[in-house]
Structures are given as C-alpha cells and as structure tokens.
Symmetry: C2
Subunit: 369 residues, 2 copies
Amino acid sequence: MNDQHRIDRIEVTPFAIPLTTTVKFATGSLSAAEHLLVTVHTESGVTGTAEAIPRPMIYGETTVSIAFAIENLIAPALTGMSIFDTAQFEHRLRHLAGNVAAQSSVEIAIFDAIGNALGVSSHSLLGGFAPDVRCTAILGSGSPEVVIGEADELKETLGITSLKVKVGLDLAADIELVTRVREHAPDALIYVDANHGFSAAEAVRFVRATEGMLDWIEEPCAADEVLGRASVVAASTVPILGDESCITTREVVNEVLGARSTMIGLKLQRTGITQSQRIREFCTALGVPILVASQGDSGIGTRVSASFAAAQGSTATQPAELAYFLHLENDLLAHPPLIENGRLAVGDEPGFGITIDADKLTHYRTDGK
Amino acid sequence: MNDQHRIDRIEVTPFAIPLTTTVKFATGSLSAAEHLLVTVHTESGVTGTAEAIPRPMIYGETTVSIAFAIENLIAPALTGMSIFDTAQFEHRLRHLAGNVAAQSSVEIAIFDAIGNALGVSSHSLLGGFAPDVRCTAILGSGSPEVVIGEADELKETLGITSLKVKVGLDLAADIELVTRVREHAPDALIYVDANHGFSAAEAVRFVRATEGMLDWIEEPCAADEVLGRASVVAASTVPILGDESCITTREVVNEVLGARSTMIGLKLQRTGITQSQRIREFCTALGVPILVASQGDSGIGTRVSASFAAAQGSTATQPAELAYFLHLENDLLAHPPLIENGRLAVGDEPGFGITIDADKLTHYRTDGK
C-alpha cells in the first residue's frame, strides 16, 4: 500500500491571525501569528497538514525563507517518497542545514498524512500513552498584581494550575515577583524562564533566593557561559531546563552530559517528529525529565504538540506548554482545541486531528488567493 | 478505532524444531530451537504473533518460566489495553523485573497486531528506511580450514560476505584463525565475538595482534573487569561491540558513557520494540554505531529483526545477524525468509509478515495438542 501514498507535492500558504494582546519577548514583540500552512499531497489524494512558525531571532527563518526552502529544497528531495518511509526523511534532507521550522513542518505534515491514510490518530501511532495532557500557561510580564491576576483568571476559566513566569530582566524585581506568585498560589506548579537574561552570577543569586519556591528554572543564563551555567546547576535544588541552548540532538547531548541542563524542553516546531523522538528517548535513557514546550503555536501546532506529548509516558507525565493559541483572535481549525480542567484532550480523530475551516483560511491567508 | 483492538488474551504454544547441526556456545550447546509461539488476540479478532526464546544461561528464563510469566503476570496487566497504546506497555509492566524474552515477545506480537489491523508492514510503521538489510552469518567453531570452508559455502550459496567468527578460548589459536580467515577473504566484513572469553590483558594482546584485520570486536573480555575493558577500548583501532554487557538501556548508557563499549548490539528478543528504539536513538544521538544481533531466532524472529533493522538508517546501514534460522531443519512460517545476494528483503506484508503454517505447527508443537 506504500506505493499509493507517495509524496506528490507540498503546498505552502502564508496566513496571519491577529493576537488579542501584543505578546512581548526578550527579543521583540508580536501582534499577529504570521505562520505558514503546509500541506503534503500524496498521489493517492491523502493529505497531511502542519504549520511552520518563523522565528528569525531564534532560528533565522522568515515566512519567505520557509516557503522558498519547502518549495525549492525540501519538496524536490521528498517527491516520490512513500509517506510511510519516515526514516528516509532525515536521510534525503541530510545535506540541508538549518531551516528547522521548514523541515519540521513538512515532517509533521507527513506524520499527519500517515494517520489520515490509516484512519488512526497520530497520537496512537506515536504510543498512545495518555488521553490528555496537563497544560502550562506562559504568563505575560507586568507587576506582581497583573501576573497574579492573569494566573487567577486562567485557573478560574480553564483550570490551569501550571504556570511559567517570565524573568531575567531585573533580579530584585524577579525575586519579588516569584515570591508573590508562589505565596498567592502555593499549590500551583510554577517555573520561570529567564531566556538567558541573567549572568551566571546573577542566576546563582536567583536560584538561592527562590529556593523552595519553584519547580524548575528555564535558561537562567547563557549556555555560552559554559562554566557559569554549570555553577548554576550546582547551586540549584531544582532542575535547570534547557530550551534555546538545547535545540539539536547534539546540543542536548552536550548540555546534558556536561550537566549544564538537567531537564529538557522540546519543541516540535523546530525538531519535528524523528529528532524529537530521538531527544525524548535519549533523555529517557538517562532519566532526564523532558517536557513539550511552545513555539507560539496556533491551534494546529497545539494539536501536534499535545498528541506528541501525550503519546509517551516521559512527556505525558509533565505539563506541556499548550495554551499560547488562546492569544490568537481565531484559528484556522474547524474545531480549535479546548482546555478543560487545565488539561487538553488529544481525541482520536485521524492524524493530528487537523481539519482546516475553508472560510477561515480564506479570511486569514495573506497570499491574496 | 482503538476500542475495537483491545487485548483479549495471549496464547502461548511451545515448539521445538531440531537443528541440522549442533550449535556450540561458550556456555553450552543446542540441538533444537525450543521456543514459544506467542499470539496476542484482540477483541476484534486481529492477532499478532512472535516467538519467545529462552536463554537460561544469559537471562535466566526457561520455556516454563516464560509461559507462566506471560499467562499469569503479563496477560492480566495488558488485558483490555488497546494494541495502539504501545507506550502503555512499559508502564503497565513497570513492576515486573527480568523476564526479558517473555516481555519482548508479547510486545513484538502487539506491534505485529498493529500492522495486521492496519494492513501495513511493521517495517513501514517503524520508519521504512530500506527494503532489505545485509546479513551476517555467525560461523561455527573449528579449525581454520573448517571455518573458511563454511565461509566459502555461505558466500557461494547465499552471497553472504559479512562474517562473525567465534573466539575467546585460545588466544594463539584465535589470532591464527583470524589471520587465516582475513587472508582468505580480504574483502569480507569480519568481526569476532569472544563472549568475555579473554581476560582484559589477553584481549589487549588480541586487538594488537589482529590490528587491521577486523571490522570490530565483540565482548573481548568481561564488562565486570571495568578498568580492563576500558584499556581494551583504548588499545583498539576498531569499535568494541557490547552485547551481553549492554542488555538494558541503563547498561548501554553506562557502558557507552564509560567508553567501555563503542558499538552496540541490539537483540529484539530481549529488549522488545520500545526499549530497542530507545537504545537505538540513544546511540544515534551519540553517534555510536549499532547493529541488530541474533538471539538464535527462527524465521519468525528473523523477520522481526530484519524489519526493525531495515526500518531506520542507523541499523539499516550495518549488517544484521539474520542467518541463524538456516540451522533449523524447518520453520513454522508458511514462507520462511530468503537470503539472496547476502541480503534479506523485508517485503511489505502486513505486520512483520508472520504467517504460521498450521501443519508445521501441529508437527513441531510440544504441548501434545
């Protein structure tokens, strides 16, 4: 049956969905989700869908570079490949550097197509460990009152009790913020993300001052500060989560074996399926905790991330960052994800459960078609 | 559709197929393949099949212990589980120690059932990298003339040019044997397996004396000789393959990170599918070569091992030990595997391609039914 499902062409459609509030990062801010819809078509007529998310400040990719790479570098390499021969994906693209979002989106769309061809959920095909996964919300920046207010609303409306607090700009204010949030929510799961904002010396002071308050600490200081980062790990009583310092498998291996990250954040939008599985199994082999993190996914990527996270015990038993799509004013999905009691159910629709609403696509696509 | 395919019961049938020649090991000899046929039945009527291979001298299991463990410990834990929820397998059996062949056979049968339920080959579902895999034959012991004669016959009749030579009993004779075999077959891939037969000091002498002759060296000395083993790795210009010292994921991690094994042999019959995938991805993450080795599989296990090996690039590009079934006078399969031009094709039958011949089963089963 493989012969029926050879890749015929890959379609790329840019779209932009406004955010209901401007989202601020250490490296900039976003007022819309300007992503690309990626659809793999097979000769049998089966399709698979994913989104590609440009992050020029992190991976160097833009909407233009992603579309060009998929159409001119990736599609020619994959045309004629059976969607089932997933292990061929890396091999056929072994000479293409970077382009992580472009490559990942196509690989995810291929795995979606497999589920669609078989009428089975990708979640089941990837392991089917748990029917749902606990969601973490990433809180916006602001005064302790504003942050606590947002946390209260998330708990009240969606049952979310796993919170990620952004820090790394002002050591004293950050310690105060964490102290206040923890006092207000003694039972919540709380971690912080400094996005490399502290020096190693500041980070050591931060982990000492917040001892007993946090569940883990993400990217306290730059991984380039190699010995300093190790000193933060040594000073901390909770895991130090590696995210932007641990993108590729090789980075994960080096940071974990060097004891500079003791927990790993995985993003499907940058490492796709095969490499994400490799990183997950590497961490599992070493007993290093691992969670599925957010690349600012719309509902499309959220379904993929949730399915992948829930599929294996190592990620299903950690909270996953699945609430970003709530910032979007709408979604391309006919049925956007629902967070209930703080959890997101993966369902058992075929593939990753991605059904695009044609009217929404017409409204939000930016290619004038 | 998962609900249709819940595990209903697991059937265990012992069988014994005589070997055409007695196979000698360092720890004993075998004159028959006394294995167990394991069949997972789902509520939908779909089945999955595997074999379990007792190796009391290696894993402590017997035909009796395997049958009892499957029927009384494993089946009750898995009954009602969807075959698709493969990540639940380890979780549900997390309190069961050892019993590696019992657990692996059931997990393999579950993956076979998934392929049968979907009408797709397990090889495709596991990655589908290559349509076939190069076969290694494990040569019997004897004088250089006898060993060379067997190698010649394997090349002539089956095109096999990847050879594993058993050493570890007599250092001088082994060096002479390797020298003669390499002289006779300068283009073959040749490795040796000492099965821990040398001391570390002897092993260092062996690797020096055979420098330039071998592609890698398996288990030169006991892994318990921890520093000695590391000294063998340091002395060798080719990889030191870990097999019986690297069974569990934890052993692989420790031996690889301790640089006491620089290549890994994987046996599906002891680590099943999920743990084998974890070990394979761990090694791939570190760039450590890995091959699929033999547990003395009949045609049934051979199909499983070949499908798994060919499914991902890391194992598909190494030879796999798939020729043991040639020692059996017959097989339970309706269509036993064929080695042609030194390679075994995985085909695209559903599951692992295991179709049992009812007449053969009646003839070789040992439970009097």
